[in-house]
Amino acid sequence: MRFVGIALVHAWRQTFGRLTPEGTCKYHPSCSQYALDAFAKHGLVKGSAKAGWRLLRCNPWSHGGVDYA
């Protein structure tokens, strides 16, 4: 099941991910890498939740920083 999530991340990287150049995210690793790690580690459901929460945390009011899945 988690392949669905991993495939979606790769689809993102091939399309819109191109518009957000490498190294422009405030977090490390990048959100897509975080999502890949989260899917591998926690499976589809929890991985999506973790990745979604990470995306929400990328906003002007958060501090960014190092944050591994």
Partner: protein, 275 residues
């Protein structure tokens, strides 16, 4: 429907920009698209450069920050204080956000709709005024409103695939081999989808890729990888040594953790042992 509502003003803006680039500046339509990309990306350059700079600092100091986070795990306030001090000390600016760069995505989608509805949205204005629509060709090869299967369109697709591969190749230098291979295969897998896109959108995508690749190369040149030499001398406590080892390739720490896991998952699937 909601998406359409959000995108309509953006489409109007893009249509306005394109028409002005064509009418006022006098560019052919195809080059108006290219110019639009260049303008958008140029506006984003200061932001991108700042962000990349901050990010490189962040990556270089990732292991130390991880250590800080674990140290103050149970005292969030103290952790935040320590982290903020650390940011300041190392010129990391995490308050910046990737949102303005992410804002390009609706622009991309908006332009897709504009180019798909080019005849309906832009032509009537000229037809009403009894003027000719103007040159729709790009280098006399493709018509920007045709899909990429027509005429020399496939050439544009090949150029797109090459640009996509190049930017994948450069993007993935820090990735693990398995992920990197996937990044290099996927652009080819995307070609069937791309064949239905209007050539104008392909042109937009191609320009975007070229810009991203060029920008990546330049920023990489301008910001050489800083090896942290002062840390090498202080290798007394074992804790430091661990941090230092992880420090060398900033990417190496998350990297080895990622792919073996993915591989394991694959094996699981193939064997069908679990779910």
């Amino acid at each position: 429907m909601i998406l359409a509502g959000v995108l309509t003003p953006l489409e109007d803006l893009l249509t306005w920009a394109l028409t002005n680039l064509h009418d006022t500046v006098g560019l052919p339509w195809a080059w108006s698209i290219v110019a639009l990309v260049v303008i958008v990306r140029m506006l984003l350059v200061p932001l991108t450069v700042r962000q990349i700079h901050s990010m490189q600092n962040l990556q270089a100091h990732a292991p130390e920050m991880k250590a800080l986070q674990t140290k103050y795990k149970h005292d969030r306030q103290r952790m935040n204080q320590e982290l903020m001090a650390f940011y300041k000390e190392n010129q990391i600016n995490p308050a910046a956000s990737c949102l303005p760069i992410v804002a390009q995505i609706p622009v991309f989608i908006g332009l897709f709709f504009v180019l798909r509805g080019f005849e309906g949205e832009i032509f009537p204005k000229y037809q009403r005024a009894g003027e000719s629509v103007g040159d729709l060709e790009w280098l006399n090869l493709v018509n920007i409103i045709d899909n990429t299967k027509v005429g020399w369109g496939p050439l544009l697709v090949v150029m797109y695939a090459i640009s996509q591969l190049t930017s994948s190749y450069l993007m993935s230098t820090t990735m693990q081999p398995a992920q990197r291979a996937l990044m290099l295969i996927l652009p080819i897998a995307f070609i069937p989808f791309v064949l239905n896109f209007p050539a104008g959108l392909m042109l937009y995508w191609l320009t975007t890729n070229l810009w991203t690749t060029g920008q990546g190369l330049i920023t990489r040149k301008l910001t050489p990888k800083k090896a942290p030499p002062p840390k090498k001398s202080s290798r007394t406590p074992p804790k430091n040594e661990v941090a230092q080892r992880a420090d060398k390739p900033a990417e190496a720490k998350p990297a080895p953790a990622g792919p073996p896991r993915v591989k394991k998952v694959k094996r699981k699937k193939k064997g069908g042992a679990r779910r």
